[in-house]
């Protein structure tokens, strides 16, 4: 006889991806494939200055010499990089002066995603730089931010309007030669966000960008650059959803963060891209390079909730270059069905008295594989470095895998490094207890998982935390065992 909980698995596996719709917006595409001509075309469409094109070409030429990394605990099907369209932007005839002028279909897409545009944003105090495919559609709250000297705009605009800032910082943390995907991104990135907080300014609202992959067969190559100048503070939110497609879609983003002396940046992500169906068909390939550089007394905190994508390859890292700088990484990574995730962080201690903290909570369900990969590196001159790492894994069912690959590379005797790890399962007893109090099994699993992830969710801004909680429950559908 099948256990009741197994029957629930079966029924839950039919759960559909709730963001699986596509919108019919006229899209401006260029031809498939990648060569120097395509890069020139992208640069031209973006009306970029010559130096930008040169940088892209340098990246492209370097990329040609590189190979896809194979060290991750991932089974990546071959990707034909010549079979991808590297640029797609919604067609718009003229620039918009008000929200009413936005394509109604596009507006509906945003509404379906629950993006709080216009008045809703004013109420919730969130400024959204909404990115649909590769070109920014609307940037809001610019004036409020401008009063404080804060720049928050599409990176393509920043390249034209603030070339000196962009040239100074672009590629300073993640060079175009950093890795295969970063090089590809440097060559072809079509848009993304740029954010600059001037000296001593505390950004009065959470800055938020919603990314959304839309056109079929197009890759998304976002480039984000965030600079907090001396003593500045910003909390930045990134949220992602993608409509369902059978074809795998490639996403290779780069996020660079520079935190100058005494500055602080909090970067929060809720990633919910299409994970593929329950047989493992389709889904986003998500190869992301995220890294921040901390100067003296600076602080950088990464918080991520990763529930989407068929394959995730992502290691938000902190380079603690300045003395007394602090890096933090809080992560919940959940995989279900046939999803694969290889994610974690790197904490590079270079300055003196640097501190870092890693809290990673992996959740594996279905037939998924979930790996934590971390590096804590203490350089020879990094006196009194401190690291605390905690890696927990939660298994749901008996067909999934949880793996941890923590690495420590310590060159200084004064360092104190702690590492704790646990692996647990949702127990039958916990489920029975919840059921006996009237909770259905699905609800019970959602509750237990949210409890498990609470320490990380608590780091997210309020509205984001609620969304993340719901996502964890939705993404778990079909996982109870």
């Amino acid at each position: 006889m099948k256990k009741e909980s197994e029957n629930i698995i079966d029924s839950l596996e039919k759960g559909d991806y709730k963001y699986g719709f596509t919108s019919d917006i006229e899209t401006d595409m260029i031809r498939r494939g990648l060569d120097e001509e395509v890069i020139r075309l992208i640069s031209q469409k973006k009306q970029e200055p010559e130096w930008m094109l040169e940088w892209r070409l340098k990246a492209y030429r370097h990329w040609l010499t590189m190979r896809q990394p194979e060290w991750a605990h991932l089974d990546i099907p071959p990707i034909d990089f010549q079979d991808i369209i590297y640029y797609a932007a919604p067609k718009q005839r003229k620039s918009l002066s008000s929200i009413d002028e936005i394509d109604p279909e596009l507006k509906r897409t945003f509404d379906k995603l629950g993006i709080p545009l216009e008045e809703q944003m004013a109420l919730s105090g969130v400024a959204v730089d909404a990115v649909l495919d590769s070109s920014s559609v609307k940037t809001t709250f610019r004036n409020t931010l401008a009063e404080k000297g804060i720049i928050f705009c599409p990176i393509s605009e920043a390249i034209r309007e603030y070339p000196e800032l962009v040239r100074r910082y672009l590629g300073s943390v993640v060079s175009y030669a950093d890795n295969f995907y970063a090089a590809l991104n440097s060559a072809v990135f079509s848009d993304g966000s740029f954010c600059y907080i001037p000296k001593g300014v505390r950004c009065p609202m959470e800055l938020s960008t919603y990314f959304r992959i839309n056109a079929q067969g197009t890759g998304q190559f976002e480039r984000t650059l965030i600079v907090a100048d001396e003593g500045a503070y910003v909390s930045y939110l990134e949220g992602c959803t993608a409509p369902r497609r059978d074809e795998n879609q490639l996403h290779a983003a780069v996020v660079e963060i520079v935190v100058e002396k005494n500055g602080e940046v909090k970067y929060s992500t809720v990633q919910n891209w299409y994970p593929g169906d329950k047989e493992g068909k389709g889904g986003i390939y998500n190869f992301v390079t995220k890294r921040g550089l901390c100067h003296d007394n600076a602080r950088l905190s990464w918080t991520q909730v990763e529930t989407g994508s068929a394959i995730t390859w992502k290691y938000p890292s902190c380079v603690l270059m300045g003395d007394n700088s602090v890096g933090e990484f809080y992560s919940v990574a959940m995989t279900n069905h046939f999803q694969q995730a290889d994610t974690g962080t790197k904490m590079i201690h270079i300055g003196r008295n640097t501190r870092s903290r890693i809290v990673s909570k992996g959740i594996s369900a279905g037939r998924s594989q979930n790996s934590y990969r971390g590096l804590v590196k203490v350089a020879a001159k990094a006196e009194n470095a401190r690291n605390y790492s905690q890696c927990d894994s939660l298994l749901i069912g008996d067909k999934c895998g949880a793996h941890t690959f923590p690495r420590i590379d310590c060159r200084n005797k004064s360092a104190v490094l702690e590492h704790e790890a646990t692996t647990s399962k949702i127990s039958e007893e916990q489920l029975f207890y919840c059921n006996q109090r009237g909770l259905g099994t699905e609800e019970a699993v959602g509750l237990i998982v949210n409890g498990y992830a609470r320490e990380v969710l608590a780091k997210l801004p309020m509205e984001f935390a609620i969304e993340a909680q719901k996502l964890l429950s939705i993404s778990l559908e079909g996982s109870v065992g």
Binding site: M1, K3, E4, S5, S427, E428, E429, Q430, F432, Y433, C434, N435, Q436, R437, G438, L439, G440, T441, E443, L447, I448, N450, G451, Y452, A453, R454, E455
Partner: protein
């Protein structure tokens, strides 16, 4: 059928793996009654409680159970709970990171939804939490902590009765709620259970010790042995068992 009949168990057999643990249980519980189930270790007391609650660790091989006139065995665990069957656990489990308040709010609302009522309002819920935690003198601070996490043995048991008070069950089965309690905690927990007793609900207490029955006075005392109820009597039976043990009954039964 007797309208007051809450639970009617007929010839219930249940096994774990190949091992039969319940071997023909017959039991009737009416509204307003308190039943005590006693018996030596390993006789099947906790199994009976788990089977009635719907635990899938055990397989019911034959027999019938009617709860409020309906087939209990056909209902999923959570439906039994929503219909007012409550199990006080012998070993309450911990759920890290989930606050007691959040847990109870979900549980209360599941029951209300099932009964076609609106979800409970925040202020009403808080008032209810305060009121009900007072019944078992449960420190109000515990309700903001994670479910059973870091609770002492006594606090866990008080917490079970607190949950019972919140959910107002028709039939509460308390599985060795007295085990591991000191004298004061025993008095508080037992008095709490008594306070919750009403003419329209019933309580089945599973216990090893007569001392619990000083507070919770049973209408009927059953002795469970080898998966069967071999003897039932009034409250004086518990006193006799306390004094003389089970041997006299077991010997008689073997004959």
């Amino acid at each position: 059928m007797d309208n007051n009949m809450l639970l009617s168990v007929k010839n219930l057999h249940a096994s774990v793996g190949d091992k039969e643990i319940l071997r023909g249980i017959n039991l009737e519980v009416k509204a307003g009654e308190v039943h005590a189930i006693m018996g030596p270790n390993g006789s099947g007391k906790s199994t009976l409680a788990s089977v009635l609650a719907g635990s899938d660790k055990f397989t019911v091989t034959s027999g019938e159970v009617a709860y409020k006139g309906e087939n209990l065995l056909a209902m999923p665990i959570e439906e039994r709970a929503r219909r007012g069957l409550f199990l006080g656990f012998q070993y309450p489990v911990e759920i890290p990171g989930v606050s007691m308040a959040n847990f109870m709010k979900l549980a209360v609302n599941e029951k209300r939804t099932f009964e076609g009522k609106e979800p409970i309002g925040a202020s009403e819920f808080l008032r209810m939490m305060r009121e009900k935690s007072a019944i078992v003198e449960l420190d109000a601070k515990l309700t903001s902590r994670a479910v059973n996490e870091g609770f002492s043995g006594g606090e866990k048991k008080k917490n079970e009765i607190f949950q019972m008070a919140m959910l107002e069950p028709s039939l509460a089965i308390l599985d060795e709620t007295d085990s591991g309690l000191d004298i004061d905690a025993l008095r508080i927990v037992a008095t709490g259970v008594t306070k919750l007793h009403r003419p329209d609900n019933a309580t089945v207490v599973i216990t090893h010790y007569q001392r619990l029955l000083d507070y919770i006075v049973p209408d009927v005392v059953h002795v469970l042995y080898h998966g069967r109820i071999i003897y039932s009597g009034d409250k004086s039976l518990a006193l006799k068992l306390e004094k003389e043990g089970y041997d006299w009954l077991i010997n008689e039964y073997k004959d």
